[in-house]
């Protein structure tokens, strides 16, 4: 009976405050020292990782290393800590929805893994707060910050405030098949200096039958892969970010966007790419498989491709000859010096990090756990299984010494890298970009596609005020 009574009470209550119930009331700043003296503490970590599934290494690291080690350390200090792990391991959008719902209701885990791109929209929604507001000024004193490059820190920052600690980084490069290059008479140490040189290499590869010279992600079916491993790296090669934070404007129908779309037109219009593949729902996976099978010449991807896709043993599209056959090179700007800040080469980076739930009962202990997770030992432990880029320079120096590819990313690519804007409207802009590439791939002239893109951006932003166009 009580449950029914409760349900009825809640229903009437909710109906009464219907207008207010969707919004999040601004809560008063709470005591950052709450629970600091507790001797029995329960902390929860949530991540989009699950043992035996997506991001399994991370899940195993949390369960097998972070939790027991931290609990032991705390016990030594006389604090009885229980740490729980909420694992998910699903599609990013679904994970995001779940985390948003949790944070919105003031429930959910104390430490939450978040993609850097979500930080802005979560902050705007009031779901997360700057670390100093959750924990206090002691956040500044953490010695780990010195080890994390500013560019990487920016990924978990919003409006110049740190909202979380980054966990790793990456960069985009061009991968190419040296065997095919040799057949086409191209050098094994290929380093294009401009987009034109990429097209030249593609044309050279065109002569080999059964080979798709260039895989440049395009279309809506590829989703964010089109944006992150296609449009945006090209766009920064023209000298523009998709969102200019200083001016507060988005790229609309600009020359830069048209340049990017023109490049797409040349790749697909000249038959250097496979337009059908771009439209298949499983197109990206198939492009991986084809590259692994040696039927794709050049492919733009993040280092994830190297360490998780064509990794010779455990990759999803394992390529036993990876180390000998696959070459990688920085992505050139459109023309030398045309890149962002006058760079000759460009890249985009992504990556996630850890934020603290503002509603945590134990902000101090949660921070302690968070810093432990981002300590050099813990970070080293995380990447023990396979090399990958971490957020910490000291760790990278140590573990990447044996991995030329990742050292290359860490040393040469990340410093050139740009990040996506973490604003709530970004996904719609991203879809508009994907659509524009699709239009071009299926035959629409770049000018027209760019004009259509402009309309979509206007619809998403509710007006043309914050759009740059020329």
């Amino acid at each position: 009976m009580t449950r029914i009574a409760r349900i009825i009470a809640i229903m009437t209550g909710l109906a009464l405050v219907a207008t207010g119930c969707l919004g999040q009331s601004d809560e008063e700043p709470s005591d950052t020292q709450r629970g600091a003296e507790a001797t029995e503490v329960t902390l929860t970590i949530a991540a989009n990782a699950v043992s035996g599934g997506k991001n399994a290494e991370e899940a195993d690291w949390i369960e097998n290393y972070v939790i027991p080690t931290f609990v032991e350390q705390q016990q030594a200090d006389g604090v009885d800590v229980t740490v729980e792990f909420q694992s998910s391991g699903v599609d990013d959008e679904d994970y995001k929805s779940k985390i948003a719902l949790d944070l919105r209701t003031g429930s959910g885990a104390d430490i939450v893994s978040l993609d850097g791109i979500w930080v802005g929209e979560f902050a705007e929604a009031g779901y997360i707060l700057p670390l100093t507001e959750v924990v206090g000024d002691s956040v500044e004193d953490w010695d780990g910050w010195e080890q994390i490059p500013d560019a990487v820190q920016a990924n978990m920052a919003f409006n110049d405030e740190r909202y979380g600690v980054p966990a790793g980084s990456d960069g985009r490069v061009l991968f190419f098949n040296k065997d095919l290059f040799a057949q086409a008479g191209l050098p094994a140490d290929w380093q294009p200096a401009s987009w034109e040189e990429i097209l030249d290499a593609g044309r050279a590869l065109q002569g080999i039958s059964g080979v798709t010279p260039i895989q440049l992600n395009a279309g809506t079916a590829m989703g964010e892969a089109t944006t992150m491993q296609g449009v945006l790296p090209l766009l920064v090669g023209t000298g523009q970010r998709i969102y200019d934070e200083d001016a507060g404007t988005w790229q609309g129908n600009t020359q830069n966007v048209r340049d990017v779309l023109t490049f797409y037109q040349r790749v697909y219009g000249e038959g250097l790419g496979d337009p059908t593949l771009q439209q298949e729902a499983q197109g990206r996976d198939k492009s991986f498989a084809e590259f692994a099978a040696g039927t794709i010449g050049i492919l733009m991807e993040g280092d994830y491709f190297w360490r998780s896709v064509i990794e010779p043993t455990a990759g999803v599209a394992p390529m036993p000859t990876r180390d000998e056959v696959v070459g990688y090179t920085k992505l050139p700007a459109m023309t030398p010096g045309s890149g962002l800040d006058g760079q000759d080469f460009v890249s985009m980076s992504g990556g996630g990090g850890w934020v603290l739930n503002p509603a945590t009962e134990f902000p101090q202990q949660a921070w302690e756990l968070l810093t432990f997770m981002n300590s050099a030992e813990a970070t080293t432990e995380l990447v023990a299984g396979g090399a990958r880029l971490t957020q910490r320079e000291d760790v990278n120096d140590e573990i990447l010494a044996d991995d030329p590819m990742l050292s290359f990313i860490a040393e040469e690519v990340v410093p050139l890298s740009a990040y996506r804007p973490g604003l709530a409207v970004y996904p719609q802009i991203s879809v508009a970009l994907q659509q524009a590439t699709l239009d071009v791939v299926t035959g629409m002239p770049p000018d027209e596609a760019a004009a259509k893109y402009q309309e979509a951006v206007e619809a998403a932003l509710g007006g043309a005020d914050d759009i740059a166009s020329d």
Partner: protein, 273 residues
């Protein structure tokens, strides 16, 4: 049999054969791929291996998630069958003004709640009710969404059962409950079985509701686990997916076979043959 009939009969069997092939063809992948050493989308005659299964069984969530699915599916089925049966019986036998309109309306509303747009209200409601991370909560939400259609189908079904059964039992002095238990339920049992299977099938494949409402990975059902067999880049791990698909299908298939054998898996069109 005239030659024309004969040709017609041959044509009929050819047609049946084509339809059968149409329904069987896609399932070949499910049967073959789990045993393939290099599982892909291609259908190949595999060199049979059980490697994929041992890889899957290394996943500590794999088998428990099937159990979780069973719990959620059975819980929902019990609730839906019990409540839909009593409600459909009552609605079929007692005239309530506007009941048909009401049923249609509920049926339509149920389409909203099963969609993604209702995610926020459902989550907030369950949060206020303290039913987050509770299997009971998932069962309640799923039941609420499935009940209208279940009542709709069962009422249709009840309407075709002669009322003289119940009247006859009343003349013997049976109580309303006895009538329900001894006469109505046995008579509409194939319908109840159908609704139960329908419910289980719906719950079995539902991803969003359990995913949003459950927190503990150990409580997540197989439909959620299935979504974890992708890499961070979104590429499916076909070895795990194909193998798990097979395991994931077996319980519902077995259930269907069981129900089919025991109760006859069909709708009822009146009692008189």
């Amino acid at each position: 049999m005239t030659p024309r009939d004969f040709v017609g009969r041959i044509g009929f069997y050819v047609l049946i054969g084509l339809v059968t092939a149409f329904f069987a063809l896609p399932m070949l992948w499910l049967v073959g791929t789990p045993f393939d050493e290099q599982p892909g989308l291609a259908l190949s005659v595999p060199d049979p291996t059980l490697g994929n299964f041992s890889e899957l069984l290394d996943n500590r969530f794999a088998l428990p998630s099937l159990l979780n699915s069973v719990l959620l599916a059975l819980g929902t089925a019990v609730l839906v069958v019990a409540f839909a049966a009593t409600a459909a019986y009552s609605l079929s036998r007692v005239r309530i003004p506007g009941r048909d309109v009401l049923l249609y309306l509920l049926l339509l509303l149920s389409s909203i709640v099963t969609g993604t747009a209702a995610m926020v209200p459902i989550f907030l409601l369950m949060f206020e009710l303290g039913l987050i991370d509770s299997r009971v909560g998932v069962v309640l939400v799923l039941s609420g969404g499935l009940l209208p259609a279940a009542i709709f189908i069962l009422k249709d079904f009840m309407d075709s059962v002669p009322k003289s059964y119940e009247e006859s039992a009343r003349v013997f002095g049976a109580s309303a409950f006895q009538i329900l238990r001894d006469v109505v339920v046995p008579v509409i049992r194939p319908g109840l079985a159908t609704i139960a299977v329908w419910t289980i099938v719906n719950v079995w494949g539902n991803f969003l509701v359990p995913f949003i409402l459950l927190r503990d990975a150990d409580k997540q059902p197989a439909a959620v686990l299935m979504r974890t067999f992708y890499t961070e880049g979104g590429a499916p791990n076909l070895a795990l997916i194909s193998t798990f698909s097979l395991l994931f299908s077996i319980p519902v298939v077995v259930m269907y076979l069981f129900v089919n054998r025991k109760y006859g898996f069909r709708f009822y069109g009146g009692i008189k043959s």
